[in-house]
């Protein structure tokens, strides 16, 4: 690339931005000039239009097309083979089991640890700093976290162990273990990384929610002679139920989609693959678009109930208010 090319590219970017500004300006101008009658609807429709357009192109169309592809083979014939493959091949079944294991463990453990941490540091001295410590991992990308934890789980065939975990094992007189190659402990160790990242997110949201629980209620419970556990169980937790559901479901969905951690740490080898990783591998590495799409569809089916539950709980809460 020459400097002239670079200048050309910068010019392109500036031009692009200018065109975007012009379009938006024009749109707003016309919305303003909309006919008096039904003006609200015109404005509503025009403002929604760009978003709807992008959702249709970027979300609805690909979702429909993926659903069709899941029922086709590479030659474009209609078939159920992709689903037969998914539920009969040991490797594919293992992928589904691993994904279920991830969703069963990561959201619960991160929410519980995050909640406990938030309760214990609440109103303590230096609360801010305790929060920062736990919150920091969330600023690290999954790939970065994978690299960091790669060092924790490292194994050396000869010489000293540079992996923290193996160094500890050796220090206590044990034999070093190939953590990431040993099934089934490797999947659990990968889940630990997810928990490490997500606990900070749970803690910050729940801590804010705990501060929102009215002090009067807690004081009233105190006057009734409850102990700390009873107050937590019967006043605080019901008070933050909405936040708990949001945290839990958000982490669940993030966990179902987990891809980067598995890909950077084991690339799905040693029985650690999960649906999102296998979806990419099948569709793009193995050129089996149908199998990849079928896995995408399954992932969608897994996520759907969580989203529905989330929406339902939030709606009920709004009704109570």
């Amino acid at each position: 690339m020459t400097t002239a090319d670079l200048l050309g590219k910068i010019l392109q970017v500036v031009m692009g931005l200018a065109v975007l500004a012009a379009v938006v300006g024009l749109l707003i101008f016309f919305i303003d000039k909309a006919p008096k009658k039904g003006r609200d609807y015109w404005q509503l429709a025009l403002f929604l239009l760009p978003a709807m357009l992008f959702i249709a192109i970027g979300l609805v169309y690909p979702a429909i097309r993926t659903s069709f592809l899941a029922f086709q083979n590479n030659a474009g014939e209609w078939t159920l083979d992709n689903f037969v493959w998914m539920f009969t091949q040991p490797a594919a079944i293992r992928t589904l089991i691993n994904t279920i294991l991830w969703v069963a463990l990561a959201p619960i453990i991160s929410t519980v640890i995050g909640l406990a941490y938030a309760v214990f540091i609440d109103k303590s001295r230096g609360e801010k700093y305790y929060k920062v410590i736990l919150f920091m991992p969330i600023a690290i990308s999954f790939v970065g976290a994978g690299v960091i934890w790669g060092f924790v789980y490292d194994y050396n065939g000869v010489g000293d162990q540079i992996g923290v975990l193996n160094a500890l094992v050796v220090a206590f007189g044990g034999d070093p273990v190939q953590w990431l190659q040993t099934d089934p402990i490797n999947t659990i160790l990968l889940i630990v990384i997810m928990i490490w990242i997500q606990t900070g997110f749970a803690m910050v949201l729940l801590s804010a929610a705990i501060k929102g629980v009215p002090t009067e209620q807690i004081e009233a419970a105190q006057l009734d002679g409850t102990n700390a556990w009873q107050r937590f169980r019967n006043v605080t937790v019901p008070g933050i139920r909405g936040a708990l559901v949001v945290v839990f479901t958000t982490i669940s969905i993030a966990t179902l989609k987990v891809f980067d951690i598995v890909r950077t740490m084991t690339a799905g080898n040693f029985n650690t693959s999960v649906v999102a990783n296998e979806m990419y591998t099948q569709a793009f590495r193995a050129s089996e678009i149908g199998r990849g799409s079928a896995l995408a569809l399954i992932l969608f089916v897994f996520v759907l109930p969580i989203v529905i539950y989330n929406v339902n709980v939030l709606r009920k809460q709004r009704e109570i208010r």
Binding site: T2, L6, N73, Q89, Y155, N269
Partner: protein
């Protein structure tokens, strides 16, 4: 007030300036080559074009990409076609998606015949022009032409090549201990046992780790043994699925490889035991030979560039240098020479005269000699003068490829469908060296072979 207003724009300006400075580092202001300074006699046949541009893409990156650009600089100057090359490590995963969306580059160097077949089946490829086909008939063997052919249509000529199945060793160590280059596979077993007994350590070092492609060096082992134990015909039947993947002959090749890869007495010299095969990067797998902690390493001719991981040329590749390679021997001493290898096929996605002119040039002996002279690679083009290659090993490799007696077969996993060749075969190797038995691994791979 004045100060704050000042500050408001100083931030973005500083950012823009920094970004601009950082970006100029990406530019390389190379003066356009002038046609007047170049000898254009070799390029007249391709014609001249005014302002024509051809985009090209492949997996080739960094210094190798620079050498590619250099290899066609004269062509650009003489014909007026400007070639815009983009390398990407995701090329193989992306090219079909790009082609389907109509965003493919004009020319792609596809490293797998299996992938080329898929692109051809999708109807995205332009058949090769007569000039390209004439060059291919003149400069390449029938086997090579076949890799660019799908359902009787010829889509593209080969580009470069590599020979797999080299066993790297230290000439000094061999001379000191009086070891001979083995003539048969049994000799190789005997040699391995001999080294193990003499040195008291494992003779072989192996690295199978390669990110999401972990396991592929193991598939090269199996392919080499398939070709040597059962011959080219069975090899062809194996890669086209005329015999199942769990055929006893395949199991035999796996078990022969397993004598090395699954034995704690044989691997992993200087690195650890069998379990370290899957964690050792293929790039560093052979390096213990330099420290005398390992004696033998199986890897393709391109491994030559890995012997100096920190750059420079401290470790030389020569029969009297630091390291050298011998070809994995045949099963019987009088068997014909059979080698496996790899290469790229030049396919086109756009029908245009300048694209075909570029492809014709790439299939010519002029280009092959230009590129081989720049170093590091070989070509199966018969018009290449072996002496142009950058090292003794590469000279030898070109001679092997040009020898009409050589049976050449493309890397089997590159010929198989992606679901096997780029997924279950690799994963199978990982599970297999991890302790799974041969039958189970072969059954799993066989089951993953797509029906269509």
């Amino acid at each position: 007030m004045r100060l704050t207003r000042h500050r408001r724009w100083i931030g973005p300006v500083a950012l823009a300036a920094a970004a601009g400075l950082a970006l100029t580092a990406c530019t390389g202001d190379i003066a356009e080559q002038d046609a007047a300074d170049t000898d254009c006699a070799d390029y007249e046949q391709y014609g001249t074009f005014d302002g024509a541009e051809v985009t090209a893409a492949s997996t080739i990156l960094d210094i190798e990409a620079d050498r590619l650009n250099e290899s066609w600089a004269d062509f650009e100057a003489c014909t007026g076609i400007s070639v815009d090359y983009q390398g990407s490590s995701e090329f193989e995963a992306q090219i079909a998606v790009l082609a389907e969306g109509g965003n493919a580059p004009d020319v792609g160097f596809v490293p797998q015949p299996g992938l080329m077949n898929r692109l051809a089946a999708g109807g995205w490829l332009i058949p090769a022009s007569e000039a390209v086909e004439a060059n291919t008939d003149e400069f390449w063997s029938e086997d090579w032409k076949q890799y660019g052919t799908f359902e009787d249509t010829f889509y593209g000529a080969p580009l470069m090549a590599s020979i797999k199945g080299y066993v790297w060793y230290s000439p000094a160590e061999f001379e000191e201990n009086g070891y001979e280059i083995p003539a048969t596979l049994d000799d190789l077993t005997a040699l391995s046992d001999q080294i193990a007994a003499d040195s008291g350590r494992q003779p072989w070092c192996v690295g199978l780790e390669s990110g999401d492609a972990t396991g592929w060096p193991g598939t090269d082992w199996v392919e080499d043994y398939m070709l040597r134990l059962h011959g080219a015909d069975v090899y062809d039947q194996w890669v086209t699925h005329e015999i199942p993947f769990n055929d006893p002959m395949v199991a035999e090749a796996f078990d022969a490889v397993g004598e090395y890869l699954k034995s704690d007495e044989m691997v992993n010299g200087g690195i650890g035991d069998v379990s370290t095969l899957v964690t050792e990067a293929f790039q560093t797998g052979g390096l213990p030979i330099l420290d005398g902690e390992c004696s033998l390493h199986h890897q393709a001719s391109f491994y030559e560039t890995f012997w100096n991981p920190e750059g420079g040329d401290a470790n030389t590749v020569a029969s009297d240098g630091t390291v050298f390679g011998f070809l994995l021997p045949p099963a019987n001493a009088d068997d014909p020479l059979s080698v496996t290898g790899g290469g790229e096929i030049v396919v086109a996605f756009r029908e245009a005269e300048e694209v075909e002119a570029f492809r014709a040039y790439l299939s010519s002996d002029t280009w092959a000699n230009n590129r081989v002279s720049l170093g590091g690679v070989i070509s199966a083009n018969k018009g290449v003068d072996p002496q142009n290659a950058s090292s003794e090993l590469l000279v030898q490799s070109i001679e092997i490829l040009q020898d009409p007696e050589t049976t050449f077969r493309f890397d089997g996993s590159d010929l198989m469908p992606g679901a096997v060749g780029a997924d279950s075969f690799w994963k199978g190797i990982v599970a297999w060296v991890g302790g799974e038995d041969t039958t189970q691994v072969l059954d799993t791979i066989e089951a993953s072979w797509p029906a269509s």
